[in-house]
Symmetry: D2
Subunit: 279 residues, 4 copies
């Protein structure tokens, strides 16, 4: 994402920081300034983008000594593109705003390849003026960006999308398992699906994974299951029954119990078909 910003030539000079300093080497060769701390990045920039591994890391980079908060002044903007829960996002937002800064959460749909290709979908929520100022950068990192509402809306939207994805994958796996059990060709099934009303990038990629029964992690199953769980918990809070997602979630748990937690989330197929192999 940073390289795409750099390569665009639209930004005078990038200031970058990473917990593992070596990860900045390539950007430094391209002319980026490697800052000594998150605070220093913020001091040198009008807008700072954060992309951290999880809620804990996303909080830490803001609240630590030498963190984002320490660098804030005036109406500088901080944009957190990490995938975090609504509560974490709101906590960061309040801290930034109480220092006079502006905040945007901006989780993305898409994983490694869309990040490299600059084809992410950006689910922003929060400060509107900051969104508008950041739009030229979003347009380089993603193919489409949305300003969805108040802080928290982006986090929740991402949960809804991942819940739909997890259930749809489960549905695909059941179809593949039924085909296998009934002696139908899975190759034929997937070829038909890929030209049917259900044709989608998910069906194409997951179908190939199921066919090969190979699950190199692009989106680890344990993360997919965690998102299912959080989405169902949201339904719980809102009294919205989600029986299909709940059934899919139980299958993801079964796949975790079968040691597929670190495999790609398509390994839910092993839990769908597993008992059949015992015959």
């Amino acid at each position: 994402m940073a390289r795409n910003l750099q390569d665009s030539g639209q930004f005078s000079r990038l200031s970058v920081w990473n917990r593992s300093a070596s990860k900045c080497d390539e950007l430094a060769k391209g002319g980026a300034v490697v800052a000594a701390s998150p605070a220093e990045v913020v001091r040198q920039s009008d807008i700072t983008f954060g992309m951290l591994a999880d809620p804990q890391a996303a909080s830490d980079v803001v609240f630590r000594e030498g963190g984002v908060l320490d660098g804030l002044s005036g109406k500088k903007g901080y944009i957190d593109m990490s995938t975090v829960d609504e509560a974490t996002s709101k906590k960061i937002s309040e801290a930034v705003v109480s220092r006079g800064g502006r905040f945007l959460e901006a989780p993305v749909a898409g994983s490694k390849k869309p990040a490299i290709d600059g084809t992410l979908v950006i689910l922003a929520a929060g400060d509107k003026s900051l969104y508008e100022e950041a739009l030229p950068a979003f347009e380089i990192m993603g193919k489409k960006s949305f300003l969805l509402g108040d802080v928290g809306t982006g986090a929740n939207m991402k949960l809804v999308i991942n819940m739909i994805m997890g259930s749809m994958l489960g549905a695909l796996c059941e179809g593949c398992a039924l085909a296998e059990a009934g002696g139908l060709s899975q190759e034929d099934l997937l070829e038909i699906l890929n030209i049917s009303a259900m044709a989608s990038p998910l069906v194409k990629v997951a179908g190939a994974s199921i066919l090969a029964r190979e699950y190199p992690p692009a989106f680890p199953l344990k993360h997919a299951q965690k998102d299912m769980r959080l989405a169902i918990a949201t339904g719980d809070r809102l009294n919205q029954p989600l029986p299909i997602a709940a059934a899919a979630n139980e299958k993801f748990k079964e796949a975790k119990a079968m040691n597929h937690a670190d495999d790609n989330f398509t390994a839910i197929y092993e839990a769908t078909t597993v008992n059949h192999r015992n015959k």
Copy 2:
């Protein structure tokens, strides 16, 4: 489908028959011969295509007085493109073959619009030589055809595909309902989905139907539920658990109980979100 064959100009003369004679008028204007019975169509043709409403009608057109069987001679081919169950298909196949004829089941994926546009997907199974002879006709009626295996394979493949479709639709509906319950914009959700890994014709069309909460029947919900039921029954016979499809099926039943049996199958959304409205 018949009109597309006629319009192609590739076939010397079509012979047609319909239970409601007036449905042949337009084809007659285009030069088709209107036969007095199914048997007469078969006598005048090397290959006869049947497309009937349900298993009962598909059987009747074959076994009735003046039906398909009465017209068979030599190695004529009969191709049933109706959606029927495996048992009905096998019964027709045996009767045709025992008279010396050749048989192909060829249910299609796609409803009214793909039929008009000649973009159906044809799931053929049965006699290979007949399949090859019929290929020029399949290429006009559909965008792609498959020879899947023995008679019954086409019927079962269609069930698997419709089961996946029903479950995926249910997954989409739960996502839309959760968005609604949580105050997220369904418009935004669907716009994001339509450029995501889950983007598919199904998501696009069903999403629009859910957003408008309008369900003009293209694929009636009661038929979708029947296919779910039959697919799950197949899983039952094969000892293949299908918990996600089973959960979706219960929602389709709930939608039927809410008087949506004759609406489009996207009306399952009403059963997904219904209780939320009671708050």
Copy 3:
């Protein structure tokens, strides 16, 4: 059941018949007349009780040459205590009634031990006068009998009861599996349950089976799964969603796939806990 009638001394003389003649030996020693055919039993009796293995056998004993119908005259009564589906029961009823006879379906709740002990629960439906005449016999064979309504009501009531039983067993198994996974003592759990609001003969007997992980067949799992399937199909016909029973049914199917079809129905525990063992 016949021996209990005989031992009661209330009935002048029993006339008996069985497909395997030797099964009548003991009753013959006690004074019963062994008839040459079902028809002969009917000719010698005011009321005839049938108890057959399945719908096919229950039909056969009525419609065969020398079957129940052949012996009917006047207003004789025929009571079928087999577990059959509504359609079979109605077909037998119509045949008996059209010959001038009276019919009662009377499936029982309870298996081998209650039959021996005379503690069955009798779910009768059909001819009221016949029910009243048969009551003294029912009171010997069972601890309680019901006249539930028209023919078919008894068959359906039994399905509802077995569906509840299957789902409750599934619920118990999930609790036992969660205890096991969490390092709680299953012995303690079952001891607590047996003095709780959930204390029941089912919990007691199934709990002991789960604890020992031994499943000698009293009620074979494949029969329990068949009853789940038929009950869910009834819900399908009536548009009554049954998501809990559907989830339990999928587990029964999984247990069948794991080769437990002929074990006791409590072997559903193996499908509930199986994946956990893979850790």
Copy 4:
């Protein structure tokens, strides 16, 4: 519970405290000393029993100024009989033990009536010597007590039991709904169940509630749903799939959405049958 201890005459003098002082009036008339604070109760007693509404209140009574901790000295025992989560229980345990005291969690199975009747089931876990000293008191308050293991085991055991209860209730409701949909008598069904293998206090009491469609709260539905949710979350942590409980939980959520949160948990029946009434 306190009154039963008092009435037993086995304990020299009770010292009592309640957040609402008036609730101690009756015990005071019977000779109990009304203390000014939890700490004072602890100072005056060898063993102190706490019974609070929820985890927050259970923590507060221990950690507040003048709370349990402030009164501890020597090897005094504190027994928390509230229903709290494992984490809260462990936090209290650590605090008590670090002051030199002894701790026991002892949640109970049973609600108001068993408390009055002294027929609770006590699920204790923690300090064994304290358990043995408290046994005479447990024997007065309950009909049976268990020492289950380390602190946390009691909390988890109670979740497992309530999960089984919630699923079994859901199973009963589906049976009652199917009977209703199919025109069977629910009275007959419940009468049969009450003499069947599934006969239990739960079936008896819940059945009567369903039949009357009256749900005066003994165990509020929102609490039952919360326990389902926590049990499923435990399964999540342990990778133990619980599809039946998950399906039941979605029904409890539906019932909450239908405004039954404060009704008795048997009101899940309204969510089970609700759509059927729309026919």
